[in-house]
């Protein structure tokens, strides 16, 4: 392990001093052999950290997560350049099930629970890679974090509420004992109260179970409140990164993603667009 991590790594040292659990080095992703989606994305997730990946619709957040989890290839996408390393081991040529066995689980955008299975069966399928060992205590652990799921254990997953489905998707991923969880838009379509609740549970999981989290979100304010570090994506590139607090205070972020100026006033879209264009030109 030490021999591997001692290897020189100059691609990106901005992510701080903590040892990187995951490092994505300058990857390029092409769909269908022709459509260039990611153009040199680099990022790091430290051991036990929460990292936010921000950006608008279509910026490439989901694609980045899928490149890491290996799901990309089932969508005819391919990592054509660069490398993805998890604990010093390259994983970008692996199948999704091997990536899960390595300790990375993606919670997909839109929850994707198994609708015709019960809540408990959904959780049990999450333990597939564990080979059936220790599933009872794991179930109890998940029910401990998500007591609502315990109440709903016998229900078909297709019939529980959106918030419960999101909890179920996270709980199901947890059953695979991940060291890193890739969360794609967990706030999508949920009431702000629920989003807050889910984020707090994720933060607890991060602290208590030592699960690192890479969080792709459009809800930048919420994501940055829980993350230590943030990356901002635009058009398949990382355009900015830094400490969560720095980014949260960054005027550009407010401009681009919150539509607010420093004093909290909403600007007209024309100004924002102009500003964005100028900013891109300068960067």
């Amino acid at each position: 392990m030490s021999a591997v991590s001692a290897a020189p790594d100059r691609t990106d040292t901005r992510a701080g001093t903590a040892r990187a659990l995951l490092s994505v080095n300058n990857i390029e992703v092409i769909y269908d052999h022709v459509i260039l989606v990611l153009k040199g994305v680099s990022l790091k997730v430290p051991e036990g950290g929460i990292v936010a990946l921000l950006g608008a619709n279509g910026a490439g957040k989901s694609t980045t997560l899928k490149a890491i989890s290996g799901l990309l290839r089932t969508e005819r996408g391919d990592v054509t350049k660069g490398a993805i390393e998890f604990r010093g081991e390259p994983i970008h040529r692996r199948n999704p099930n091997e990536v899960v066995r390595h300790g990375i689980v993606q919670v997909m955008e839109g929850r994707h629970v198994f609708e015709h299975l019960t809540v408990e069966e959904n959780l049990l399928t999450g333990a597939y890679t564990q080979g059936g060992a220790r599933t009872k205590p794991d179930l109890e652990m998940v029910y401990g974090y998500f007591p609502r799921l315990k109440d709903r254990r016998g229900f078909r997953a297709g019939y529980v509420s959106g918030g419960e489905q999101q909890m179920l998707a996270i709980g199901r991923a947890l059953m695979a004992h991940p060291r890193l969880m890739l969360l794609d838009e967990p706030s999508m379509g949920l009431a702000p109260m629920l989003v807050q609740e889910i984020f707090e549970i994720v933060a607890r999981l991060n602290r208590e179970e030592n699960v690192a989290v890479l969080l792709a979100e459009q809800n930048a304010t919420m994501a940055l409140r829980f993350a230590q570090h943030g990356y901002v994506m635009e058009n398949g590139r990382i355009v900015l990164d830094g400490d969560a607090t720095t980014i949260a205070d960054n005027e550009d972020i407010k401009e681009f993603y919150l539509g607010l100026t420093g004093v909290g006033q909403r600007k007209s879209y024309r100004d924002v667009k102009h500003y964005k264009r100028r900013k891109r030109w300068l960067s």
Partner: protein, 311 residues
């Protein structure tokens, strides 16, 4: 008036006056129904796990029966031949995954369907090349004779076939509901991508599903073969399985069983009691007409999975 009597009253009077005969007809229907169910089950398994309608299921039944008979003709005792046939069907599942499914992963369903039509022709030719094309007799050691229980004639072969089918169905039900692999199969059927995201390997699942479908094909092939000889017409069983699927729903194991029973019993009763009214041959079209009615009024079948829609 006399027509109404002949349709709505006379058959039931016949049933009531000769109850033993009625039970015999019923049992014959149950036997035929279970056989249809077994073939339909093979379709359901593969359709559930991969969304592929396996056109070759009927030929798999023929191929399994041919292999079994071929091995027995070469002197293998029944248990040995059975084990070897299972091995052949499992090997076939691996080969299909590697040579047919894997190169076509993420293609449209219609393309996979076309591939199974190709598989259908290949297996048909390959089986006859290996084992010959003439009609063969399959003797599995259970005599095709009857004994009497309370005045009802029961065929030994049909009885043992029915028991085997029931056992197989029970084992499959437990496998799907209670085991880790069974849950994974259902998960794959629900959402491929989500199944991948939690580390369920699709390739392994496909091999398992095709192997199980192959084993179900053996069961169906052995029972039909023992009853009516191993011949090409076995592969046409698939045609009878279609209405069963429409009745029961394409994704439902219990639906396949019940659908088969309804069609089996329905066509036998129809043939015996209503057949003379229309000059017979009800058996040949009953299943399809029933399926047509279902398509009109309940297209997802009796147990087909309703599409869950949240509002």
């Amino acid at each position: 008036m006399s027509l109404l009597y002949a349709v709505f009253v006379a058959p039931f009077v016949d049933m009531a006056t000769a109850p033993a005969f009625f039970v015999e007809v019923l049992l014959g229907g149950v036997f035929a129904g279970l056989m249809y169910s077994l073939v339909a089950l093979g379709f359901v398994l593969i359709f559930k796990a991969s969304g592929v309608f396996n056109f070759a299921q009927g030929v798999m039944v023929l191929f399994a029966a041919l292999t079994l008979v071929g091995l027995m003709e070469r002197g293998a005792p029944v248990p040995v031949a059975l084990v070897l046939t299972v091995a052949v069907m499992v090997a076939l599942a691996f080969a299909i995954e590697r040579l047919v499914l894997r190169p076509l992963v993420n293609q449209e369903h219609i393309i996979l369907f076309m591939a199974t039509i190709g598989l259908n022709f290949f297996l048909e030719g390959f089986g006859e090349m290996l084992w010959g094309a003439n009609v063969k007799r399959l003797d599995i050691g259970v005599p095709d004779e009857s004994f009497q229980v309370a005045g009802v004639l029961v065929n030994k072969l049909e009885l043992s076939a029915a028991i085997t089918a029931a056992l197989l169905v029970a084992v499959l039900a437990v496998f799907f509901q209670r085991t880790r692999i069974g849950r994974a199969l259902r998960a794959v059927a629900d959402d491929h991508e989500a199944a991948l995201s939690i580390g369920i390997p699709l390739k392994t699942i496909w091999v398992i599903v095709w192997a199980v479908a192959g084993i179900v094909a053996i069961a169906a092939g052995v029972m039909w073969g023992a009853k009516s000889g191993v011949q090409f017409s076995l592969s046409l069983l698939a045609l009878k399985a279609l209405p069963v699927l429409i009745l029961g729903g394409f994704e439902s194991v219990p639906g396949a069983i019940l659908g088969g029973l309804i069609i089996g019993v329905g066509e036998k009763l129809g043939e015996v009691y209503w057949g003379p009214l229309v000059g017979g041959a009800i058996e040949n079209w009953f299943a399809y007409v029933l399926a047509l009615a279902f398509l009109l009024f309940r297209p997802q079948g009796l147990f087909g999975e309703k599409i869950i829609e949240r509002v």
